[in-house]
Amino acid sequence: MTRGKLKVYLGYAAGVGKTYRMLVDAQQLKAAGRDVVIGYFEPHARPDTIAQTEGLEAIPRRLIEYRGTRFEEMDPAAIVARRPEVCVVDEFPHTNVPGLERAKRWEDVEFLLDHGVDVLTTMNIQHLESLNDQVFAITGVRVRETIPDWVVRQAADVVMIDVTPRALLHRLERGVVYGREKAQRALENFFREPALVALRELAMRQTAHEVEHRVEPAKRGGARLLIVLSGDPESAMLIRRAKRVADYLGAECFAVAVSPNGDLADFPEPQREAVERHLNFARNLHIETRILAGQPEAEVLVDFARRNAVTQIFVARARAGSPWLRRSLLEQIVLRAKDMQVVIAGAR
């Protein structure tokens, strides 16, 4: 079976019109004779949008009981059984109620694609994993529902749905996007005008990059990145940043931690748990990981880098007041890496 094609409608805030545009396209596909169904549609009660679902078959959602509350989730098995050519799935970054086969809607979408169904879906730029820290810096909001960049990268197309922040704020004030009360709350963080402008610019640049990548992928060869992981909380940010640079440059990327015996058990708790979590996080972003054995850490790292033709080592910034050892590691790496660049990632 050939894998289905994914199309992502990318916006920068709720209310820019992603779902509407997706449904308009779905209607066009149907008019052109394709078998289109709705797998999930979030009825935010915007009449214009609801009107666009008319005539499209909706696959019933399943009802899930969780801790005494009933939730409605998409039913991927039912969709696959129905065998449509194209399926519309709103809210790509959604997290499913615990206990289902898959934790995330993007994983459900992968399942549909694997079964040969084309998928149209919607998301906002702030849900892209590698931008998580930048979005936090812009909005002050830590977005929890994220989508790994490789998931978007494999889409056949990414389309930017744009509207000016001014028009969006008008819509919000008139209560078109949310109810009025919810709108007031939204206006206080994500919807501050400079935040909207910055998110919009991020979305435009990301779309430009996605478009470019599809016609002209970065030439492989040259850059190879090594990420130095630890149990420190900065590691997650470091991974996101380095992976983003690697993706843009078309570079290969490894992440390593160092311990005397090359074993997680070498780390004392609670560090061990943190290192493991960071290694898993890197793997989820499709980064190859390894635990290197030996001491001193800087020497092991730089030797490994050299043997693997690494050109750039990414290290987290030592926090103010962090132990001498940590600062010294950075210094030791810089001193030894005579033939490589060392990048100390910013705290975004």
């Binding site: 396209d25 744009d162 490589m340 100390i344």
Partner: protein
């Protein structure tokens, strides 16, 4: 956003005051930017015009595209039209009639037209400027290939040349720009070519938006903070191994559609030999397309950091000679100062 306030310089203050005064009496310009004909600019623009009219704005259609499809024309549905005049076989906006009727908003579908000789203005975008100056807001549309600065690039992709253009500066004066993006496959042309055009339009729109963001932050006395645009600053000294920095910097700037800056801090007592080396490197920087910045300050590190923080730099490139000597330690390597004082930038250390 980390908001550290900064005093505006008197020049910035005056410029902002002037801008505010101009803005108060001027009409607002909104531009719908597309990457090819057929992406749906006209439709989006006319729908907006209709919504505005329904909200009670006094609106007039000043120009339509000659080949507007009937389903798009249907959106007009009774909106007042001030017809274009035909001069030497060309459609010219009737500026006088518009100034006379004084609608609060007028719609110009297609900003990139030259007017025939003898018209009030040589080009239609100048008509729009005139209307804006008279306090009439303008909603207009344009495709990326008609922006003068992109003409050659687009020509190289499409093989088609266009004559009538709008300068990028005019686009940048827009109060609002709306990008009309659509999947390339629908247009029925070579998708590779269309994708290149899409990319150019997206980056152009992002650059306009970036400028708006900077303006907003400046007006509110907020230091430029690392936003959406990657800005790479290379710290140059006479002994910098610039080649490696430029190679990496250009590659990153190109892939991120970012900006590359080479900065050096002027040294009062530079030897002729060092000056010659510096000049050579500055030339290489220019040749690589970097913006060159000359800074002054007693402490070079502080001067660089101050510039970086106020100009939204996201990546700082510095050279480092791997000396282990006692002297290097005592003098506290500048790299360490950079690292300690640049919380939200990446510091990329290059071996020298």
């Amino acid at each position: 956003m980390v908001e550290t306030s900064r005093k505006r310089t008197p020049e910035e203050y005056l410029r902002d005051c002037q801008a505010e005064e101009d803005a108060a009496s001027r009409g607002r310009l909104k531009v719908f930017l597309g990457y090819a004909s057929g992406v749906g600019k006209s439709e989006r623009m006319l729908r907006e015009a209709r919504r505005r009219r329904e909200r009670g704005q006094h609106l007039a259609i000043a120009a339509l595209q000659p080949k507007t499809p009937p389903e798009v024309l249907a959106i007009l549905d009774g909106m007042p039209v001030i017809p274009t005049r035909t001069v030497h076989g060309r459609d010219v906006i009737d500026v006088d009639a518009l100034l006379d009727r004084r609608p609060s908003v007028c719609v110009i579908d297609g900003l990139a037209y030259d007017n025939p000789p003898g018209s009030r203005n040589a080009a239609r975008w100048q008509d729009a400027q005139m209307l804006l100056a008279a306090g009439i807001s303008v909603i207009g549309s344009v495709n990326i290939q008609y922006i003068a600065e992109f003409r050659e690039e687009v020509e190289a992709i499409t093989g088609k040349s266009v004559r009538e253009t709008v300068p990028l500066e005019f686009l940048k004066t827009a109060d609002e720009i709306e990008l009309v993006d659509a999947p390339a496959e629908r247009m029925g042309e070579d998708p590779r070519r269309l994708a290149k055009l899409r990319e150019i339009a997206l980056v152009a729109a992002a650059d306009v938006v970036d400028q708006q963001l900077s303006g907003y932050l400046r007006a509110h006395g907020i230091d430029q903070t690392p936003g959406a645009q990657e800005r790479i600053l290379i710290c140059l000294t006479p002994r910098t191994n610039l080649r490696a920095m430029l190679d990496t910097g250009s590659a990153i700037a190109e892939r991120f559609h970012g900006q590359l800056i080479v900065a050096y801090v002027r040294q009062p007592e530079i030897t002729p030999n060092d000056q010659a080396m510096l000049n050579e490197k500055l030339e290489a920087g220019r040749a690589a397309g970097a913006q060159i910045v000359e800074l002054e300050g007693e402490s070079p590190v502080a001067a660089i950091l101050d510039y970086a923080k106020t100009h939204g730099v996201t990546q700082l490139f510095v050279g480092h000679s791997q000396q282990r000597g006692l002297l290097a330690r005592i003098r506290r390597n500048p790299v360490e100062k950079f690292i300690r004082n640049s919380q939200n930038m990446d510091i990329r250390v290059f071996p020298q």
